[in-house]
Structure formats: structure tokens, C-alpha cells
């Protein structure tokens, strides 16, 4: 089932990626939509052994299969990969679903926020013997900025970098005689982050959550330094990441010779950091059967349909956040009578409710981008209403300052029932 428009070149002579690119020009790819082209079983458009080809925009090519049942199974699997599933939505609501119903990967992804700050830090614990330099500005412009431009639909990003000297990891690595190198075991990794975090500092410019990517150049007495995974084998990328915080990479074998100048290969470093960024956002892919072939997104870092998945999850999470915030506010008002609600706070609450209803209506229609915008406005309004400082003006008003009606009729209270 294709559409009836004309293509400049017959499809059969193109490779699958070129076909996908050519078809992309003809489709109406609004965010949230998926276009599936079914090709005959014997077509040579898809290479041998591949039944499904997932493009980097919002389309896919599927072989028709032996019968309708096989086609249906393939289409079902395809939609589970390219669009949202019950488990991905449950993961987005992970903070509100009780424990035990979710897998271990459920609470790893970054919470939805209006913006993120990304900080790249180079840790040099021994500047006397190591002279480390990295071309972070060029690397950010060349590798990181295209990914962030693609993600700019989701949130505002800002990037900066710093070099920290005399910053040590909190853990002493073990010396391993067989490989004559130092090893950081997997169970000591959680203790690495805390001492470093004191040096990283918080952002003075904005209130957005910060993603830290650290590159650690081990000191001469502790190099070469490798990270061990749970089985004891050194991790190939020599890096690890912590959900909702960021990632750390240890720079590879230092030069044992005395010219102590260390040149950091930014390509290797940025590969690892961008992979960690994808993991932190939850854009990574699960295992796919061998008959699936996914086109690589290239310099942009992620495909359009992966962006859509992120938007679905964030929209749902935003709506749930607004519901929780407004419910908490209502419960607080029930319990504490001293809270003042001014008119502008009330209007923010009304606006939040209206935006949430808008967002849910748009989601029902499948218009993802406007649903996401509405959900962002709803979150902004509800946060502004809940955290307004005027709510607390009379909160701690002491009871003894209230008009004193007790002393005078006090004794009467005891005598009146006695008279009755």
C-alpha cells in the first residue's frame, strides 16, 4: 500500500535508506505520526534477511510476509519499537506507580523539565605532573550542538564546561598485578561521585537540573586506571553513568614518559558522552530481532521517531505532575486554614487546569506537538501557583496574636452547663 504520487526514480533501483529519504519528501510527517510502507515479499528494496527497515524520519518499510497474520505480527512489533507502549508510559509515571510493578530500569530517566544545563568538566588531580588540555569548544560545536538542536523541541539546553584541578575521586583504586594497572571495581563506583560533587558547584545562572559529564585524568601514581564491571572485566569505554545525574569517563592509559602533555581525543570522549546522554534521557533502544534493521541517525544523534517517543513520555509525565501538584495544593488547603490564596494564584490554577484539559484533548486526537506545548504551559502555571510566596504570608501567624476572647468568658464556660 503506497500512495499514488509519482517518484522521480523507480523504487527498485534505490537502496533502502535512499528510498526512505525519497519517500520522506512525499509524506506528511507531523510529530507523533508513523508512515509504514508495505512492499511485496519478494521485493529487492530491502536487503536479504531484513524484513523491516526503520528509517530515521517517521517512516518504515515492511515486507508483506507470507500472509496477513505475519504482516500483522510485524506491524505490531514495529509500532512497539517506534512508538509508545504501556511499559514506556508506566516508566514515565514511575514516580507515582508503587514499587514492584515496574522493572529495574523504570526510575532511571531524567524527569521532564523545561530546560537542562549540561556541564562538561575535566578533572585533573595532579596538575604538577599532567598538563591536560582539551578542545572542548570545538567538540561541543561539532558533536554536541547538533544533538541539542534536535532536542530543542523538548527543552532549552545550555552547555558550559570547566576544568577542575586537584579534584580527586573519593575511592582509592586497587592495583592488579596481572594486568599491571589500577582497577575501580563496580561496587566502589557509587562512592566516587559524592566528593567530586562538592567541587562541581551548582549553576548560578538558572534553576534547571544539571547534567554533569566528567572526564577524569588519573594521576601518575594511579595510571593506567580501568573500570571493572560486575564480572571483573574492564569496561571497553572506561565510563559509567548515574541515572538522573550524569556520566564519568576515565581517560585511558596515560603516557608513562615524562613529557607530561596529555592530549585528549575529543572524538572518543564525545562518543561516550553522547551515548550517555541518550541513556540518561531514555532514548536507547532495546534488543531488536535480527530481521529489523534500523537506520543510524547520523550527526543529529537521534531519529525523529525517537524524539516522538520522548515527547509522548514527557507529555504524560507533565500531565501527571500537574495533577499531583494541584491535588497537593487542595489537600493542603483542607488541612491548614491559614493559607491565603490571592486572585492571581487562583487564575494560575484555572489556567493550569484548562491547559491540562487541552493537552489531554490534543493527545486523544494524536496531535503530539500541541499536546506537549499545552502540557508545558500547564506545568509552568501549576508550579507558579504552588510555589507562590504569598501563600505563606499568614502561615506562621501565631495563635496568641489572634483576638483574645478566651479570658473573659472563660470562667463562664464552666458555670453555664452547671446552671442548666
Amino acid at each position: 500500500m503506497g500512495n499514488g504520487a509519482k517518484l522521480p526514480v523507480p523504487l527498485t533501483v534505490l537502496s533502502s535508506s535512499e528510498a526512505d529519504a525519497a519517500l520522506h519528501a512525499l509524506q506528511d510527517a507531523s510529530p507523533g505520526s508513523l508512515t509504514v510502507y508495505v512492499v511485496p515479499e519478494s521485493s529487492s528494496l530491502l536487503p536479504q534477511g531484513t524484513n523491516v527497515y526503520v528509517g530515521k524520519h517517521r517512516s518504515a518499510l515492511v515486507r508483506a510476509g507470507q500472509g496477513l497474520a505475519a504482516l500483522r505480527a510485524r506491524l505490531q512489533q514495529l509500532t512497539r519499537v517506534m512508538s509508545f507502549t504501556a511499559s514506556s508510559i508506566a516508566a514515565a509515571l514511575a514516580d507515582r506507580v508503587p514499587d514492584g510493578q515496574l522493572g529495574p530500569d523504570a526510575r532511571r530517566h531524567l524527569k521532564s523539565s523545561l530546560g537542562y544545563e549540561i556541564t562538561f568538566s575535566l578533572l585533573n588531580p595532579d596538575p604538577k605532573s599532567h598538563d591536560v588540555d582539551w578542545d572542548i569548544e570545538g567538540a561541543v560545536n561539532r558533536y554536541v550542538q547538533p544533538v541539542l538542536d534536535k532536542l530543542s523541541v523538548v527543552a532549552n539546553f545550555s552547555v558550559d564546561s570547566q576544568i577542575l584541578y586537584y579534584a580527586v575521586l573519593g575511592v582509592t583504586p586497587r592495583f592488579d598485578k596481572e594486568s599491571s594497572s589500577f582497577l575501580l571495581s563496580a561496587h566502589s563506583l557509587p562512592h566516587v561521585i559524592n566528593p567530586v560533587e562538592a567541587r562541581l558547584g551548582s549553576s548560578a545562572a538558572s534553576l534547571y537540573p544539571v547534567l554533569n559529564f566528567l572526564l577524569y585524568v588519573p594521576e601518575r601514581s594511579h595510571s593506567p586506571l580501568y573500570i571493572q564491571d560486575k564480572d571483573g572485566a574492564p569496561v571497553p569505554t572506561n565510563a559509567f553513568h548515574s541515572p538522573r545525574w550524569g556520566g564519568i569517563m576515565v581517560w585511558g592509559p596515560g603516557s608513562a614518559s615524562l613529557p607530561l602533555h596529555v592530549d585528549v581525543d575529543m572524538v572518543r570522549v564525545m562518543e561516550v558522552f553522547l551515548a550517555q546522554l541518550r541513556l540518561l534521557f531514555g532514548i536507547s533502544r532495546e534488543e531488536l530481532p535480527p530481521e529489523f534493521q534500523v537506520e543510524s541517525p547520523g550527526n543529529e544523534g537521534l531519529a525523529d521517531w525517537e524524539l516522538d517517543r520522548l515527547l509522548w513520555a514527557h507529555t504524560v509525565e507533565n500531565i501527571a505532575t500537574v495533577a499531583t501538584t494541584l491535588t497537593s495544593l487542595a489537600q493542603l488547603l483542607d488541612q491548614i486554614s491559614n493559607i491565603v490564596i490571592k486572585d492571581d494564584v487562583a487564575s494560575e490554577v484555572y489556567r493550569a487546569v484548562a491547559s491540562v484539559q487541552d493537552a489531554m484533548a490534543e493527545l486523544a486526537e494524536g496531535r503530539l506537538r500541541s499536546a506537549f506545548q499545552a502540557s508545558k504551559e500547564a506545568v509552568t502555571s501549576s508550579e507558579r501557583a504552588f510555589f507562590d510566596p504569598s501563600l505563606l504570608h499568614l502561615l506562621y501567624f501565631p495563635d496568641d496574636q489572634k483576638p483574645l476572647e478566651i479570658p473573659l468568658p472563660g470562667p463562664c464556660i464552666f458555670f453555664i452547663p452547671a446552671c442548666l
Binding site: 556541564t119 551548582s202 548560578a204 545562572a205 470562667p411
Partner: protein, 587 residues
Amino acid sequence: MAAGPLLLLLLLLLGAAGPGAAAAAAAGPGPGLGPGAALREELLLRPLPAGDVAAAFQFRTRWDADLRRGAVSHYRLFPKALGQLVAAQGVRELHLALTQGFWRTRSWGQPPLGAPAGAELWVWFQDTVPDVDKAWKELSNILSGIFCASLNFIDSTNTVTPTASFKPLGLANGTDHRLLRYAVLPREVVCTENLTPWKKLLPCGSKAGLAVLLKAERLFHSSYHSQAVHIRPICRDASCLAVSWELRQTLTVVFDSFTSGQGKKDWSLFKMFSRTLTDACPLASESKVYVDISPKNEEKEFLEVTPTPTSVHEAVVQGDKRTYAVYDLLSPSLFNSSRSLNVQLKWKRPQDSQELSTPVLHAQRYVSGYGLQTGEISTLVHNTHPYRAFPVVLLETVPWYLRLYVHTLTVITKGKENKPSYIHYQPAQDRKRPHLLEMLIQLPANSVTKITIQFERALLKWTEYTPDPNHGFYVSPSVLSALVPSVVAMKDVDVEESPLFASLFPSSDGSSYFVRLYTEPLLVNLPTPDFSMPYNVICLTCTVVAVCYGSFYNLLTRTFHVEEPSRGGLAKRLANIIRRADPVRRC
């Protein structure tokens, strides 16, 4: 209104700001720093009369970058927290000082960098900032978080906009004084929790270089402790086509020979800081220790320093010709003989015969009067120069609850009235704005000028008193800025070549140097109510009402009747007891 001297003084103060006349090229960056960043560190040890010693640290980071708003910034030596702050709030110059103690100008001479007691913050904003007051409030709150100081108490009741003092110290295009804000918190206490974040901003932290000497338990065991942060834009090189940012962190401390409990007045780095220097910061392009060995009264030498200094430097600083012994921590010969450097200062002659050399300009301030209704603030400004007169700008900030009467302002020199050539007075608004009084006064040679103004104390609302109102209320120190004529002619200062202590206030005119002095803060008692009275009133009223009302009611409604002897079982006896205990019979 003589605008002539005013204009001249203001122009001079302005012109003193730009060190653009420097002739030499900028020093190259240190190792591994990449283009455009340089760190210099320096320690100046200056013996004071009466055996005390003043130690002044300066760490200067120069960064060749443009901190425009929103541009992505990559930080190497410049701390990220301050860089983001400057970029986000549109700051052109920032000066923050936290001081404990008072610099005794008359006995110690001019301070290397003056600061008032408490916390002082003054900021010049860029002219692109849309709302300066909002940016000022956010800036003070963010700085309060970075330095763990209560700078969030800076609000409109202690912020002023001076018009003549506090001209920019860095590059400036125009000086619209509406972009300047100045605030002092005299009550602020400085302690270790302020020193730690200050040390964290240094590139080497306190792990290497001169910062290893900064141990909190020795630094706060002193008569005067002042730490400051100065950020300003400077010319990148002699042609001044591009702008660099300069961050100076300074720490001045005066060790008192009396409190450190030693009979002999010899000093050494170990005695002062309980540490010695082992190496220079690897990121620094220059790391030096200067010891002031200037001879007094044409004597040969009165101070002996060991080990032998690497060189001797002579300079004219603050109008005096001074000689310094220099220890260059980056020179390889310094650590040849021993692993650590412990500079020792030994007096060659007994100290008591030292003559105090009074500084050319010094001032005092005090409150006089009696009772809790009126009072008078007096400021005494001394000009001890034998034959030169010079003008001085006096800035006074008085809180709104001391209502100044400007018609009682008198300035008297040598018994005659001395009319200021420029007065700027902004009256206070209750609970909104403090008084601001700025005057340009010409000080004749060898004279004492007395400036007095009377005030009346206001009665505050009962919620406005601090938790300890009988301690008193502070009045911020007054600021005196002047271009003091120097006895010795001074050369143009080249920022990159000269020591740091000589280049914070460079002078463009070789015959005078810039001095900023602070007087003492004042402690004034306001009429204070007795805060236990509401409780007393409630207790008394309740007692009286309960006793009177209760007695009257009893008298009116109590009836008496004869009681039968008790007979009957336990239940009846219990019922009798209960009935007897009930004070009111059933009607």
C-alpha cells in the same frame, strides 16, 4: 558651586581607572592553560609599628574572554560560578569585601586595600541591563549563596546610588551612576564558613602555592581579617582593542604580637600560619613573596630576613619609596637547600624606639549627645601633609531611623567654616531608603576638619526590632576617597610587570595616589520598648478577671444548708463526697 575642582577630581578619579597606558605586552599564559588565561599569586608581608605584621595575599586571574549574556562559556582558571553570575546578571564590575576588625590607619598606615567592617558590596552594571534593581537583588542573593554570607539582607533600606564616590576601577565607557549600587552590612560576621567558599574559587584550591598558608584557625586569631573579591574588565594589551576579565581575590590579615603571646617580636611564616611554603601553584605564571624591608629614618636596615631573598625590588607605593625582598617561588634556586620556605623576620633594633609615621589622610567618626531622642554624628578628617591641600569626597549613608537634619550640617576647619564645593543629599524615606550625603571638601594643609550633623532617633514599630534590640543599631562606615599628593614622584605602573599590590589603583598622574578610607561603624541605641509587657498585661488581666469575677459569682449564687450525718453504704458515701466537692449546688 565650584564645578572646577569637582570636575578635576572626578576626572582624575575616572582616569585613574584605566591602566591602558601600560607599555609592555601581556605576560604569556602558564603551562597547560591554553590561550587566554593567566594566574598570578603574591603575598606581601609588611611589619607594622609596635611589632605587628600585616600579610596581604592577592590572587589574580586574567581571562581573555567575552562574558556576553547567553554565550556558551568554557572556563579554565576563572571559576564557573562567578563567570556565570557576571554573564547572567550583566555585571560590569563587582567588588565584595568581608571584613572582621578595624584597620587602625593612624598606627598602621594606609591599608593595602581598605574595607569597612562587615560586608560591603558595590557593583557597576552594564548599560544593557533592563532593570538594575531586580538584577541587584538577584545578584546579592546569589552571592549570598556562593559565599555563605547573609548578603540577602541587602535590600532597598541599605542600598544607595553614590554619584561621586566609587567610580569604576576597570574599563568604562561612560559612567551613568544609575548603574551603580552600593550596600554595606556592618553587622555581618566573618568566619570559617566564609573562608572556605572563597578558597574554593582559587584554581589551585588550598592544595598548592601560596594558598596552603590559609589555615582558618590561624587566620581568625588576628586583629584584622579581610577577604575580598574584585572582578573588573581590563585592557587585553597596550593597544586596548580587546577586553579581558580580571578576577582578584585578596585576603589581608594582621597578626598581633600581643595575642599570639610571644615575648619576642620576631615573626616567621610558621609562627603566623603554622605552615610553610613548599611549592608554587603549577598553574601560576608568577608566584612571589614580598617582604617590606624599607628602612625608616634613613637607617641602613632594621629588619633582617632569612633565607636570602632571590631579589630586591624597589617601588614607590602609596607615596613612599619602599624596598622589598622578593622570594620567587618559581625560581629553581629557592628550594635547592631545603624543601620548604619559611621566611623569617628578625628585628635588628628594639621595637619601642620606632617612630610612628602618620599617614597623610586619616579620619575618625563618633556619635555624641545624651538621651534617646537626639544626637550628633561627628567626623574628624586629618590632613597631615605639611604644605599641600587636596580635596576629599566624603560619602555617608545613614539608616532612615536616624532622621538627619541637614540644616545643622557644619564643616569647620581651623575654626572657620569650610563650605563644600559639591553636596549631594538624598533624604531618606521611612522603611524604603536610607540617607545619602556626599560632599567634596577641600582639606587645607596640616589641618583637622570637623563635619557634624544632628539627628533625631525614630521610634520603630514593634516588629521591626532585631532580636537583641538593646545591643544597638549599626550605622555604616563613611567612605573617604581622595587623590593624596605623594612626596615622591611615581612612575606609570605597568600592570603586568609590577607587583599586584601596586596595581589595583593605578594612577595616571605621577604626583598623587588614590586612597579610599573607611571610618568606624557607629553603634546607636534607639528607644526600645519593653517586650515582656504584652505577656505581663495578659497575665495580670486574666488573674484580676478570674479572681474578681469568680469571687462575685460565688458570693451571689452560693447557698448553704445543713448536712446530714453520713449513713448508708459505700455508694451513698461516695455520692456524698462527690456532692460535697461540687462547689455549686444544683439549682
